[in-house]
Amino acid sequence: MSPRPGFVLEVDRSTPSTLFWHGEGYRLEKLPVGSRVLYAPEPVDALPDPVGAIRRALDEPLGDAAPLRSQLHAGMTLTIAFDDVSLPLPPMRGPDVRQLVIEQVLELAAEAGVDDVVLIAALALHRRMTDAELRHALGARVFDAFAPHGLLWQHDAEDPDQLVHLGLTDQGEDVEINKRAATSDLLVYVNINLVAMDGGHKSVATGLASYKSLRHHHNAHTMAQSRSFMDQHRSELHSSNWRMGRLIAASGVKVFQIETNLNTDTFPEQFRFLQRREWEWTARDRAAFLASSKALEATPDRVARSIFHSIRAPHKMSAVQAGEVEAVHARTTENVYAQQLLEVEGQSDILTMGLPYICPYNVNSIMNPILVACLGLGYFFNMYRGQPLVRAGGVVIMSHPTPWAFHPGHHPSYIDFFEQVLAETTDPAEIGKYEEAFATDPWYIHLYRTGNAYHGVHPFYMWYWCAHALEHLGSVIIVGGDRAAVRRLGFKPASSMADALEMASDVVGRDPSITHLHSPPLLMADVR
């Protein structure tokens, strides 16, 4: 049966309650009659022969690029960079897409007799991956062949010996990237495209860059001008990365880009009710929902988190393309839109969404309040093309427990950002004056380089991600969140959806129009 396209449901009196994510748990909420609920297109079919598809892609590249086989020869230096643990979400069942692609690349490299090969996790300023995470992403065979010999690296943006400055773009933006990657004879990048923001020139220009480079586009101004950053042609974030990527190519760095699309088959069998339309739930689905949601309410946070973070998604590769960066990315973006895009007529006064337990920055970790804001106002708000789903001055209502809890090993600088910076101001344009101190603090740098911590400046980026939404909206309300934490974020806490809608009416007027973004799976709205 072919996958059904997405559609917009108008809630009537016969519509059952709608499923909302609520962190490590979920709820059913009754939306008022007349609300619109956006349902994503169903997952497209996976490739029946992924390994064959990869081989073909490597042999028949897109754009101005020669087949990979012909670019490999004995005595050359080869670097293979790959996306880090922030993709895919949730982590996929073995074998991971990166494992499949890199194994094929290495087969060709072994055949050609290439000895000098290094694998680099393209972290940018994200945290280093643990051995278990690397093993999962690359597979045991690749990990065991490279890690014990010190050939599996993690990009270190704070080591000046590992960086090389390639120059300035015509807008004066520094381009400084990983030295090994820039000076190899060939750089192969293995990407996973979950949303339209990923991939293209951003892979190398951001993934392998330093703070000096990143601050040119990771700032409040750029993000406010990205409308949205899922739409490459209307995104200042992408314009900047494209300039940088072209400079990288012009500097003589040969990049062979391999991009993969994943379908949105996000949750395994026991959670399949999450992706199904509520009126299509069978008795089994309803039982599963009731049993699990009640059990989760009674479960302590730590246990609930470990249950959810151990979920391995069944999503699979739906397309793979390789070759020259821009040609490859154009095809990839088409595929992402084909899977996720949904046409929506007009904006509404209120946008509601349930936020899951996971975002790119808390894999195997705790979702702290700053990440809640980033997931809702950064990612979900920006899943649009054209104009936002909610009108200027409207209200976003998010559902998440928002605990005042931080992972001290992964997010140490987030704690200080929350306690010190947000206590003073929540305006993305104002927080910049603290950025330098956080970016250069020796303790955060130490933890980023030797531990598994996000870089000191990273919480700022999370807040910049919300810049467009914060400028656009009249108010933000979080349902079911910790009151003190929600207030610290500058939002309003509500204990129930009904209260939240009441509070929202104060801002947008009586009888507002409501749109709900039903996830999972991911969807992107094409708003006319």
Binding site: G94, P95, L106, A110, D115, R141, D144, A145, F146
Partner: protein, 311 residues
């Protein structure tokens, strides 16, 4: 001070201080020879070949080591019918990938061989401390062998044991492999064979590298295959060097046979096309890559791995 420390203190105070309750101190003005330390190659394993020790070892091998080996390594044995006709005592030479090799090989040998076998073990690794020397010589009938230096004594002692009727297990590589491929062989086995005239039985052990490799922190259950080859006897007047080359070739063929099958391995051996068990001359990642994909890779989730040390 914790409760445990207090208890220990109190117990140790039950024995009064001073001589003769405790060992005497030596007067400063008198000369003293350094006390003899019989460790390493000097360790005397004679007591482990006396009846009480042999009985204890047999019980342990049959009731603990064998079942454990079957659980952890599920060995598949090929060519063991040869063992019926081997004249005891014999020298069993095998490739070495893991510490579990010894226990596994002992587990698959027939009982009469298993109970009358000594194992050549590295003196610097297994006999460097008293407790280790005691344990390994009792449990596995290990005898110390110098692997970094030429030591006449240990060679002579081993030859004597062979003449007394003890089988010998020896790993000619001298240590476990670092990357899964064979290491260059040393001449110990060939030397002993020519001195004593005993037959050499080649053995190939496949799969222990995955169970517990060198430097590994986890013990993983994984199936293994043990292949026995026809015994090699030193020809009249054959020198050790020539015999060593013969043993080397046979082990290579056995490795090939273990991976494929007996006939195609024979044909390749005949044509001189046996792939080198030492692996390609290439960078470490390519050598690891050339080991090939893991046939048992579907036990991806680490449930069957047990940590042996802190990660």
């Amino acid at each position: 001070m914790s409760g445990a420390e207090r208890l220990v203190r109190r117990v140790s105070r039950l024995r009064p201080e001073g001589f003769p309750w405790r060992a005497p101190t030596w007067p400063v003005t008198l000369e003293r020879d350094p006390p003899p330390r019989h460790l390493g190659a000097d360790y005397d394993t004679e007591w482990t070949r006396r009846y009480p020790a042999r009985l204890a070892r047999a019980v342990l091998l049959d009731n603990v080591t064998r079942p454990l080996a079957h659980i952890v390594a599920s060995p598949e044995v090929r060519g063991d019918e040869i063992l019926e006709h081997v004249e005891a005592p014999a020298i069993y030479v095998a490739n070495h990938a893991s510490h579990v090799d010894t226990g596994l090989l002992l587990s698959v040998l027939p009982a009469r061989v298993r109970h009358k076998t000594v194992v050549a073990a590295a003196a610097d690794h297994f006999f460097d401390r008293r407790w280790k020397a005691h344990v390994w010589s009792l449990v596995l009938a290990a005898i110390p062998i110098e692997r970094h230096r030429v030591n006449r004594k240990s060679a002579e002692d081993t030859a004597a044991l062979l003449r007394q009727g003890w089988n010998l297990i020896i790993f000619p590589e001298g240590g476990r492999t670092h990357d899964g491929w064979f290491q260059p062989m040393r001449g110990g086995a060939a030397y002993l064979a020519t001195r004593t005239g005993r037959p050499v039985v080649p053995v190939h052990i496949d799969g222990t590298y995955r169970i517990w490799p060198r430097g590994g922190t986890h013990l993983r259950r994984s199936p293994t295959r043990i292949t026995f080859g026809s015994p090699i006897v030193a020809a009249e007047g054959e020198d050790a060097r020539r015999l060593e080359a013969r043993i080397d070739a046979v082990l290579g063929t056995l490795a090939d046979e273990s991976r494929t099958d007996w006939w195609s391995a024979r044909r390749r051996a005949g044509a001189g096309e046996t792939p080198s068990p030492r692996g390609p001359a290439a960078s470490p990642w390519r050598r690891a890559w050339a080991l090939g994909p893991d046939p048992h890779a579907d036990d991806e989730d680490d449930d069957s791995r047990w940590a042996l040390a802190d990660d």
